[in-house]
Symmetry: C4
Subunit: 277 residues, 4 copies
């Protein structure tokens, strides 16, 4: 490690340690400052969208927004300069997020017309992805992510089943209830079926005919019961992930390390395992 870094200028190494590292005091301070800046800039963005606040403090909020955009742009440039393989960083998930979090403000300048107003806001909203950077500061998330990845395929099957149910029931309800009760098209009825199956229940559309209500009752009870499926899947995987993280006994012979507490002999080479303290 020390040998390969001789090729790099010392200031780049130091900059890299501050920006990318979080072990030195300067690196830690930088990280904390960055998180605070991100949160404040998101709050500024939110307040700017509130009419009554924007009318009074609009100019100040926009100044803040530009301030943060410039700071984050400089930070992005420093990251590219300091990192050893800039291209790897640029193409990485956080490299892309970093660009997306500053671009909208600049794009709003290039496209000034009122007609692009909505698009401009959509782009500005993307700045909020900046928040995603916080994720890397949380190591505990790995445990959850492992369990979710392990249950990925089962969750897909479950979502496919939910989709099929929702499309079929949505189509039926379109025929049963019809446009006069708010089920104006099949996609709209499918939306209703999702609202009902997930037990959200806005009530903006609700069945009016006895048959429609009977079908809705079945959908609700179904939705109420099948929530057990993803819950069961994730619980089983989390349980397994926990067990795996606990069994750390190492075989003195073959170095295998997935032995449960009760095991007396290595299951790979038959060597007697050391007694646990």
């Amino acid at each position: 490690m020390a040998k390969t870094e001789k090729n790099v200028q010392p200031w780049r190494v130091m900059l890299s340690q501050i920006i990318f590292g979080s072990t030195t005091p300067a690196g830690k301070a930088f990280d904390v400052l960055l998180i605070v800046s991100i949160i404040v800039s998101v709050i500024v963005e939110m307040l700017d969208s509130v009419k009554s606040i924007s009318a009074v403090y609009g100019d100040m909020l926009r100044a803040f927004e530009w301030g943060f955009t410039i700071i984050f742009t400089i930070e992005y440039i420093l990251r590219i300069i300091s990192v050893r393989y800039p291209w790897l960083y640029i193409k990485s998930f956080f490299g892309i997020v970093d660009v997306i979090s500053v671009l909208p403000t600049y794009l709003a300048l290039i496209l000034p017309g009122t007609q692009y107003f909505l698009v401009l806001r959509l782009l500005r909203v993307l700045r909020i992805f900046r928040v995603l950077k916080l994720v890397k500061y949380l190591g505990e998330a790995n445990f959850l992510i492992t369990a979710l990845i392990a249950s990925r395929r089962k969750i897909t099957v479950f979502l496919y089943a939910v989709m099929t149910i929702v499309i079929i029931i949505g189509s039926f309800m379109y025929v049963i209830e019809g446009e006069e009760h708010g089920f104006s098209s099949i996609p709209h009825s499918i939306y209703w079926a999702i609202v009902t199956l997930t037990t959200v229940g806005y009530g903006d559309i609700s069945p009016q005919t006895p048959l429609g209500r009977a079908v809705a009752s079945v959908v609700m009870i179904l939705g109420y019961a099948i929530i057990a499926v993803p819950t069961g899947i994730v619980t089983v995987e989390l349980s397994k992930a926990k067990e795996d993280s606990q069994s750390k006994r190492v075989c003195p012979q073959c170095k295998s390390n997935d032995h449960i507490e009760r095991a007396l002999y290595c299951k790979y080479c038959g060597t007697k395992l050391p007694v646990m303290v």
Copy 2:
């Protein structure tokens, strides 16, 4: 296998491999094409139900619908021709689904009158069952289905209990709230009880009297708490299904049977485990 197939014409064997099989390149291509066709035809059906789209592209969408119906009809005939025991296929679940997915379009021709319009649409909606054919492409579903079948009886008991609660509470609320607050009949009140117990909560009917609200509060907390029951049932069965799929090996010495697939020696007595087939 090769011997018995001597009786069948070679082209039928080949056709069968393409249509029913998914191991040959041609069979795979056919399956992918079929899935894409099914999804597109369902989307066509959905778009046709949207007034604004139907007004402009109605003719085109109906042409598509006819195109898909004819293609699926030819496919159905080919399946009957190519399969060795046509009657077994026709009576099978997917044989029935295949017919149901083409019939509605033809039935709409035979019954033209306006008065059957609603019925006609109900029949057309059945075409969506075509989507169900996708299920067979997902092997991972077996695991979930096994767990659900194992918990079938307990889920039935749970659903029976839910039904009883809902009927009793629905009847009480009919008396407590009465027609002036929207609880116009016992079936309607039972519908409200289902909406509340499953935590859907449309809000199209909601209690207005203090006593009605007190009963509703009890129903809500009950619904919130008893969701634990199906969840617990499915979790336990999924957990068991996972364990069963993992531990099938028995130690010849100590008869312990919780050995993972990779294990070579018994972890309890150190005896070499028999090699897995």
Copy 3:
């Protein structure tokens, strides 16, 4: 058994076997007939509450109601006559349910005035408790009930915590939102808090002020997260109940029968356990 029954008349023994038993063909037929009668009478009751149906078939439905009431009354009397200890039956849960399921119709005769109309309906609704009799036909329910009884105390603590949260938040929301936004009193605000925490969300009352919405958001996320608690409790108890029902190996020495599959020696007396097939 046979000896003690010599004291009873043979027809009482036979009647008892038909009414209470479900092992003889006659007993089974009686049970099935009873269940069908109960379900039909409940449906009659429901239909009678629907204005449009009651207007046309009212007389017929009331005749049915009286028919069922008389049949169930005769059944109740037969039960008292045939059973060996009538008082034990009358005081038992199902003895009380049996009386409650016939009384309302008779009470409606004694109290005829229009002013008691509502009370009369409340009494009639009680007939629906008849349905509860179905429970005894489901043996599988024991498993679930055992797990629920085992988790009884933890569920109580959970419900107590939910109650406390709901009362405190309801009171806060009463002050924050006030009567002008529908939070007209503390009990009413508590009702809203229950609607929100249990994720029912009718929408008949919803916060209007920014602070109220912030508190509501916290309540919703809380409700969304703490549902994990009853679910976890019941899952753990169900898992234990399942394990207990599986481990049926009996020690040849001390006859203890709660040995897990992996066990080699009896944990109570140290005797070697027989090898499992």
Copy 4:
């Protein structure tokens, strides 16, 4: 214990036993009386907020409130007097709760003006914290609290992920739906996203555009599926807490440690287990 208490006056020891202890008959009676008083005073507070009740019984309810406040104040003073280290009690959680539960009534005297009416009510509402004192009477809660503390960090990661999702989706919906459909600002849209993700679904704001409904559908299915995560976390921790409370015994021969309390011999090697204390 007896030795150190010689320094204290006997009446203080006795008072302390009655107020803080719950082992002597007098201590038990005091505790029961206190719980009843707390519950009654909370009910009085609730009734006082109901307009129709307050108009008739207002004076009586306010007299009751003062009565309870004075009783609880005397109780608080007695606690300080009788306890050995008053300062420790005053700074403890329940010491603070005890003060908060009497202060609001007095503060309402010092600040009489109509303009402080709302603040006054907010202070009064705090009296409800008195209920929290009940918690200490429930020992079973420890089990649940242990499991929740163990899952604390994972729950935090989960809540952080939920927050990020809700902020991003809220911002997107603000742009997609806009003010004309009720999404009047980003904070308001985030409120909608929370209402939807937690499956509460008030329906006071609901998407009107096709794109908005598509995004809402994704949020609903996401909310429906990810509830599995906290449930899984808590279930695994509860399961572990249960196991830990059961298996504390280690076999001196084979070091296996999953022996239940009743076990006398190791189920793996037959060695006699040490007697439990």
